[in-house]
């Protein structure tokens, strides 16, 4: 009898403890989502412990990816070029290694070329070592951290366009929030000279691979195929980085605004190497000056002073 009472008491205590933990976690989620709670130390400690293993596994995964893609390419060529079958057979072994090196070489060349073409930025090259499998947010982990000069809020790009921004930098790895994440918002502008309409690019939960440009007035000059670039407003992303192309336009639920569905410039499915912009030497905006005046007009200060003198 006493055992049963004791067991009931224990069950009751466990139930209360469970309810306490569940409610605490529930509150924590909302505090954290509104930026009132952060766990930077424990988060960095976990990243620090996991990143060497993630780097090693990501390296193995990349090698396998290169090998399988090389095998696939060879198989397709074999189908298409029957006359060269014997030669392909002989070269297959060499081709496997050569393709792997070639793919890496091309990628690095493209990156160096991009780095030379955008001399106003200091960049750090990084490799993607982790991705989130979650369906609600879009994050990646890169193998560069504060030791390489990477800090929070630094933009991350590829030669194709904008990737996202660093939201947490550990000693040897950093977490990058992609522009596909629903929490991300990037100030953008239409590149076409006649349009120059501004908007905000956000991740879309319904279509995780295609971000949306929101806050476009209904009568604004935005058409399918327009190139969208960063506007530089907000101070995080430098001006002029390509975000994507307008794939389609639809009306906002309210009916007053339009939404542009974008095809992102970066292929996020094949994201392996990225560049972190650690410093930008863009010229600061020029100070506001009064517009040039036509001599003798009413708004010309010299003419006004002369007129006042004559009146006296």
């Amino acid at each position: 009898m006493s055992n049963r009472v004791r067991r009931d008491k224990e069950d009751g205590r466990k139930g209360w403890a469970m309810a306490f933990v569940v409610i605490s976690l529930f509150c924590l989620i909302f505090f954290a989502a509104r930026g009132r709670f952060q766990a930077p130390v424990s988060s960095q400690a976990v990243s620090l412990a996991l990143s060497p293993f993630q780097q090693a596994v990501a390296w193995v995964a990349n090698e396998i990816h290169y090998a399988t893609s090389a095998v696939w390419e060879v198989a397709t060529l074999y189908e298409q070029n029957k006359m060269l079958r014997n030669e392909v057979e002989q070269l297959r072994g060499i081709n496997l290694q050569a393709n792997e090196a070639l793919a890496e070489n091309e990628r690095l060349r493209a990156m160096i070329g991009y780095e030379h073409s955008v001399r106003q930025f200091d960049m750090v090259a990084a490799r993607v070592i982790g991705r989130e499998s979650d369906t609600w947010s879009r994050m990646i982990v890169i193998d560069r951290g504060t030791a390489s000069g990477v800090q929070e809020d630094m933009p991350v790009v590829t030669p194709q366009g904008l990737v996202g921004r660093v939201i947490e930098a550990g000693p040897n790895s950093s977490k990058v929030q992609l522009i596909l994440d629903p929490r991300s918002s990037v100030g953008t502008i239409v590149q076409r000279a006649e349009s120059r309409v501004t908007g905000i690019v956000q991740g879309d939960m319904d279509n995780p691979t295609m971000p949306q440009m929101v806050n476009i007035p209904k009568n604004a000059d935005v058409v399918e195929g327009d190139v969208i670039v960063t506007s530089g407003f907000g101070g995080i992303f430098p001006k002029g980085i390509i975000v994507g192309l307008v794939s389609s336009l639809k009306n906002d639920d309210g009916g007053l605004l339009k939404i542009g569905v974008l095809e992102s410039a970066v292929d996020f499915q094949k994201l392996e190497d990225v560049l972190v912009i650690t410093a930008s030497r863009e010229a600061p905006p020029e100070p506001i000056k009064p517009p040039p005046q036509t001599p003798g007009t009413e708004t010309d200060p010299a003419a006004q002073q002369k007129a006042e003198g004559n009146g006296q």
Partner: protein, 166 residues
């Protein structure tokens, strides 16, 4: 290595595989979720208390390592571990059918709890298209990997139980 160390190493290894290797086969950014599968398997093998704890720890690891909405996975995996653990006494440990197919139910439950939290946090989405784009591929991945993850968890649990008995 102690039992706790082995379990921690196993969990970390699964997480590293999930985040760094399996994105290779990701479909629209969705890849198998080993942490959820581990929680389901461990809860069926070890019962409610340990299942709940495993859900909380694996969820917290996911939250801390990826930088997603903090606490969101700790919350949902804890619930999944607790619910699956309630069935532990009714299932033979050697029977793999229920844990493997329960992973589908657990994934669906986890998805809808996360969706509810997203709505409460102020994010809006079309539930039908979202289910098609995200939940269905996730279920296929989970079904494909539920057996291997459960088998590995079962083997580890058997070793740990033998060690505990001795």
């Amino acid at each position: 290595m102690s039992n706790f160390g082995k379990l921690a190493a196993f969990t970390a290894a699964l997480y590293v595989l999930q985040s760094s290797f399996f994105p290779l086969i990701a479909y629209h950014g969705i890849s198998p979720n080993f942490m959820l599968l581990l929680t389901v398997s461990y809860a069926f093998l070890r019962g409610m208390e340990k299942g709940t704890l495993m859900g909380f720890v694996s969820g917290l690891l996911t939250d801390l390592a990826t930088g997603t909405f903090f606490g969101i996975h700790a919350f949902t995996y804890l619930l999944v571990g607790n619910i699956c653990g309630r069935f532990a006494n009714r299932v033979y440990k050697e029977q793999f059918f229920l844990p493997v197919f329960a992973s589908l139910g657990a994934t669906t439950f986890n998805y809808f709890i996360l969706a509810l939290l997203m709505v409460l946090l102020g994010y809006r989405f079309n539930p039908i298209s979202n289910v098609q784009v995200t939940l269905l591929p996730m279920l296929i991945y989970q079904l494909a990997f539920a057996y291997p993850v459960h088998y590995l968890t079962y083997q580890l649990d058997k070793k740990l139980s033998t060690k505990e008995t001795n």
